[in-house]
């Protein structure tokens, strides 16, 4: 056998041996937390890195943050067991719970019980402030964009209110709305004028105004939606079996126990744009399910 091939065979044999050493690492029981990607990754990494650390300390189990880059992937990962605890939006949380019988709602933020979306418009579009649902009709024939197709505040509820105001998505310019993919992208696309108007999460809008990412001379709010319930923490069934009796309750207590009094807690809460986490129940999300079914997002 020539020397070159001889060496190749030796390398191969070594690698085969090495790969067997990797197998035992499957066994470690880790709590995998995830979130729908509604923030920039730097913030997601910082936020969930800290949260994983905090939860790991409180619960005495290894906690790992698994990044996911689209909404349905988070729902599927939750259903198939790739993620144990997920920070879902209203719609995705309902979808995930319908697909994963036995999943429990753990908590929401103080702001989630009364959440809002805002409709924004480019100042050169000539769109005026809207004071009633009927006023939404002025959006007919305009270039309009939603955020991600599965977003509660960037698509589902805005589309629901538009429908109540008598506007269907095919009445926008071009016969269809755009889907920018994220709240930040919606601001940028309306800001640039590519779309004349759009709808997004009010909390993201407020922080964009504060940080200067949105210029009030170019984009303004034309309407605030009525309130609805949004984001929540959802846990998979069977965590008690994997991590010991009463684990789900302990997990819920750990999340509710994050307070601004500790340094870690303060950072986490400010990254979540919340004062505190509060208990939440599945029944609060029944209206979201109804709207989801009406608009065909829940089958």
């Amino acid at each position: 056998m020539p020397a070159r091939e001889h060496r190749a065979v030796v390398c191969l044999a070594l690698l085969c041996c090495l790969s067997t050493t990797a197998l035992p690492s499957w066994a470690a029981e880790t709590l995998r937390i995830g979130a729908i990607p509604d923030q920039n990754p730097e913030k997601l990494n910082r936020l969930y890195g800290l949260l994983a650390q905090e939860l790991s300390q409180k619960l005495q189990v290894p906690v790992r943050y698994v990044p996911v880059s689209n909404y349905p992937a988070a729902v599927s990962a939750f259903r198939t067991g790739g993620l144990d605890v997920v920070w879902f939006g209203g719609l995705t949380g309902v979808q995930a719970r319908l697909q994963t019988p036995g999943a429990t709602v753990l908590a929401q933020r103080d702001i989630d019980a009364k959440f809002r979306s805002v409709f924004i418009a480019n100042t050169q579009s000539g769109l005026q402030s809207i004071s009633s649902l009927e006023g939404l009709q002025t959006l007919k024939g305009k270039r309009f964009t939603f955020g991600s197709e599965s977003s509660t505040s960037g698509r589902l509820m805005p589309q629901h209110f538009l429908q109540q105001g008598g506007v269907t998505p095919n009445q926008f310019a071009g016969g269809r709305p755009g889907f920018s993919g994220s709240h930040d992208a919606t601001i940028a696309l309306v800001h640039s004028g590519s779309y004349e108007a759009g709808a997004l999460n009010e909390q993201v809008w407020t922080s964009a105004l504060k940080s200067g990412a949105a210029d009030p001379n170019k984009v303004t709010v034309i309407w605030r939606t009525p309130t609805y319930v949004d984001y929540h923490w959802v846990a998979r069934p069977g965590l008690d079996k994997r991590f010991g009796g009463g684990f789900t309750t302990k997990l819920q207590k750990a999340i509710l126990g994050i307070k601004p009094t500790t340094a870690n807690g303060k950072t986490i809460l400010s990254l979540f744009a919340a004062e505190e986490f509060i208990p939440a129940s599945a029944s609060q999300y029944a209206p979201i399910e109804t709207v989801g079914r009406q608009l065909g997002k829940i089958r």
């Binding site: 790969s19 997601l44 889907f179």
Partner: protein, 515 residues
Amino acid sequence: MKRPVLSAPLLCLLPALALVPVLIVVGQGLHGGGFETWWRFLQGAVQPSKDPLLLKSLWDGLQVTLATALVSWGLSTLIGLLLGVFSSDVLWESAKIPTWPAAAIRSLLALPRAIHELLWGLLLLQVLGLHPWVAVAAITIPYSALVARVFRDQIDSIDRRRLTAVLQSGASAPAALVSSIGPPLQPILLSYGGYRLECALRSATLLGVFGLGGIGTELQLTLQSLRFAEFWSGLWLLILLSVLLEQGLTFWRHRQQTNPSQWNGVSVLTMTVLAVLGGGHWLQQLLPTSGTTLQLMLPPLPDISALQLAATELPWLRMIEQTLRLTLLAAGIAIALPPLCLLIFPGRIAKQVFLGLWTLQRVLPPPLTLLMLLLANLPSLALAALALGLQNAGVMGRLLVEGLDQQNRGTMKAIEVTAAGPRQAWLLGCLSPQSRSYLAYGAYRTDVILRETLVVGLVGGTGLGWMLIESLSSFHWAAVLLIIICFALLTLAGEHISDGLRQRWLRTPGETAST
């Protein structure tokens, strides 16, 4: 009467007609509102973020993408080679068995090939959950079928006299097959194998953009939230990796040509096995606890009535029409742009600039390009076509330049001395001899573009691709199933047409000139 025939270099520029409607629409839609954002985007290129936490996560993402690409490349080459051999008529003939199993394997392989790796990825994600090997499987399945087809075509086009001679000398069928097919397969294994690795890297990145992990995920999230400095840190890393890989492969190809005896099929096969084992091990190390063991978790399957309902609900004609329009426009741009660029700006410096630009176009996944274009333009189907066309133009451009560099410059010199202008000389002397093989590749690329319309449909809100994503996000399985079938049928039809065109263009020039 003689039928007027378009000469080859003109045929090559003909798809440029697709540029006309695209430029009209895009030109009208252009506005200054997004220039500010563009400026920030360009600033990000010069001043990428150096945040250590970010760099660490980008570096991890890059490794995941590379490991995924390596494993799936190795696996698909090995599986593809096996399937290629088994789907070739020669194999069955040599063993004196009827050849229908070969034909059966070939038609079975059409299905995995017709479905884009992104679609496989999204589907497997539903069935297997979030697991690093889902991306590997998503790339391996269609790639194996593609590789199998290339090898099968190659094997069946090999001169069989040699095989017959060896068989008649009394050798056993397997031995005869290895000794007669092996050597002619080697060059294609070497050149095509390398090309597939580049494709695998692009696919792994794209899968990341749609949530299957790696650097693509980071790029998508940073761009979506308009963190340009952070986006560019990732993009620069990816560009660096792609350039290193491409240059490495070019160097390797060069080595093969100068010193062919040193490289043989066995060493390539060893490399693929190494890639699978090494990459697999690497992936395991990078993501040790990210997945439970792989298990089937089928979503609820739709029943007949749900399928019927979905079939009547969906706007089929409009979706198919938009998909086809998108394909044709993008293919026109992809095929015509590189020769046009080189024709309008001849010269060495311009060529280097274009090569750099094309690298960037290849590296950027089309959904990201589209979002950037959308910032300074009104939304339209033409814009989506432009985003898709630009990436493929990057691929076509490099191929064209490689072909041009390898050919004999005699004809061009001869035309130049007749006092023709540099552009005329380039068109007739340089592009003309290349245009047939370029067009043949263009036909194949069109096929790829049809599959890729899925990718921009999402952002543009158009066509079958968009409807598929919308149905997936509503977990509307009946619609998902129907759209996939429709997509597969369209792709198969497209493949059939592009095959016909390719064969026509690859016929010897003398033969066509006389018609």
